[in-house]
């Protein structure tokens, strides 16, 4: 049986990463170049998180990586277009 604490820890890490990105965006409001890096960084880390988490859970399949990749790309496109 899997330990749920590991799962919770992974989600906690992801929540912290997303929160830090939001705070940084707020802090650097007006610096559009830096905000671009924040969003690209967040999306990249999100994809890496997906790979790490699914490898850890032994559910690492190409279609899952494609899913994270497309969600990351979609998110990046949505925000970058405004910067």
């Amino acid at each position: 049986m899997k330990r749920p604490t590991g799962k919770i820890f992974d989600y906690l890490i992801l929540t912290i990463i997303v929160s830090v990105a939001v705070i940084l965006t707020l802090f650097f409001n007006g610096n559009k170049e830096f905000q671009k890096y924040i969003v690209i960084g967040l999306s990249s880390i999100y994809i890496v998180w997906g790979i790490y988490h699914h490898k850890k859970e032994h559910t690492f399949y190409p279609q899952i990586i494609l899913e994270y990749g497309l969600f990351g790309l979609m998110g990046t496109l949505i925000v970058i277009g405004l910067l």
């Binding site: 559009k32 790309l73 979609m74 998110g75 496109l77 925000v79």
Partner: protein
């Protein structure tokens, strides 16, 4: 119709227990629609700037007109365009680009009054408002009016003349449109009033609402937010159904996607259009 919506938004045996809108193929289509919408907004704004604002087309005369409208509404006299103050505003904008700063006082200590005096304008009272990264004149004036310190400058009854400069360039490597607004009154126009100079040095970055008018930035922002909301709804429904019916499938973690898109929604709401100083 209801069945199609069900397949599109809810997990079902017919969509392999995953809302079709969250399938990779659908994500590619959504990205295409997103980019297409943005292209239409850009095309319309560049072909018909009267319909949508355009960053490089902030008309200085329009800024003056809107400023004077605000003064008339407040029962004040209108300001006259002054060539020397126009020159001073241009020199100030050029100096900010040349010396890479965004402030009333340059890193070497040069104050706005230097540019006004250099232009030959003998001021008794003077003031300066700055704005950057706005796409249309209405938003600039609205942002100044939303800030008490800038509003005070804009509606100061002592001022008689105005000069405006709008200039494109780079500050810290970022492409920027600067709007410099110089106010002034000469000794002739305000005789017998104590000589003081008024400078607006308070960094005012209050959030500004845009109650009317269409700008490409506003449209793109709404368009982007609509996509994020659509994905958040699909992911939330997916999460609820998976939990409720205990669905087991091979896919990414819905909770992780939700966290990521909630973060993006927050970032979208945070990003501001322009700044005033």
């Amino acid at each position: 119709m209801a069945h199609s919506a069900h397949i599109l938004f809810l997990p079902h045996p017919h969509n392999n227990h995953r809302a079709k809108i969250l399938w990779p193929q659908s994500m590619v289509i959504l990205m295409g629609i997103l980019l297409m919408g943005r292209s239409i907004v850009t095309l319309v704004s560049s072909l018909n700037p009267g319909v949508l604002g355009y960053a490089s087309q902030i008309n200085p005369d329009k800024v003056i007109e809107l400023t004077n409208n605000e003064r008339l509404n407040a029962g004040l006299t209108i300001l006259k365009t002054n060539d020397q103050l126009n020159q001073a505003a241009l020199a100030k904008a050029a100096d900010m680009f040349e010396n890479n700063y965004w402030a009333h006082v340059s890193p070497t200590g040069v104050e706005p009054w230097y540019f006004i005096t250099k232009s030959g304008y003998e001021y008794q009272h003077a003031g300066e408002n700055l704005a950057r990264d706005f796409s249309n004149p209405s938003d600039v004036v609205r942002a100044w009016m939303a800030s008490p310190t800038h509003k005070q400058n804009l509606l100061d009854p002592r001022y008689k003349d105005i000069g405006i400069a709008v200039m494109d360039g780079y500050i810290n490597g970022v492409e920027t449109t600067l709007v410099v607004q110089e106010f002034g009154a000469t000794q002739k126009t305000v005789a017998r009033i104590a000589s003081t100079s008024v400078v607006n040095t308070v960094y005012a970055n209050e959030s500004v609402s845009h109650p009317s008018g269409l700008s490409p930035m506003d449209l793109n922002k709404s368009w982007s937010l609509a996509f994020v909301v659509l994905i958040l709804i699909a992911l939330s429904l997916d999460w609820i159904f998976v939990l409720r019916y205990n669905i087991i499938r091979i896919s990414g973690k819905t909770w992780a996607h939700l966290t990521y898109f909630i973060g993006l929604a927050a970032i979208l709401l945070i990003i501001r259009q322009g700044f005033i100083l």
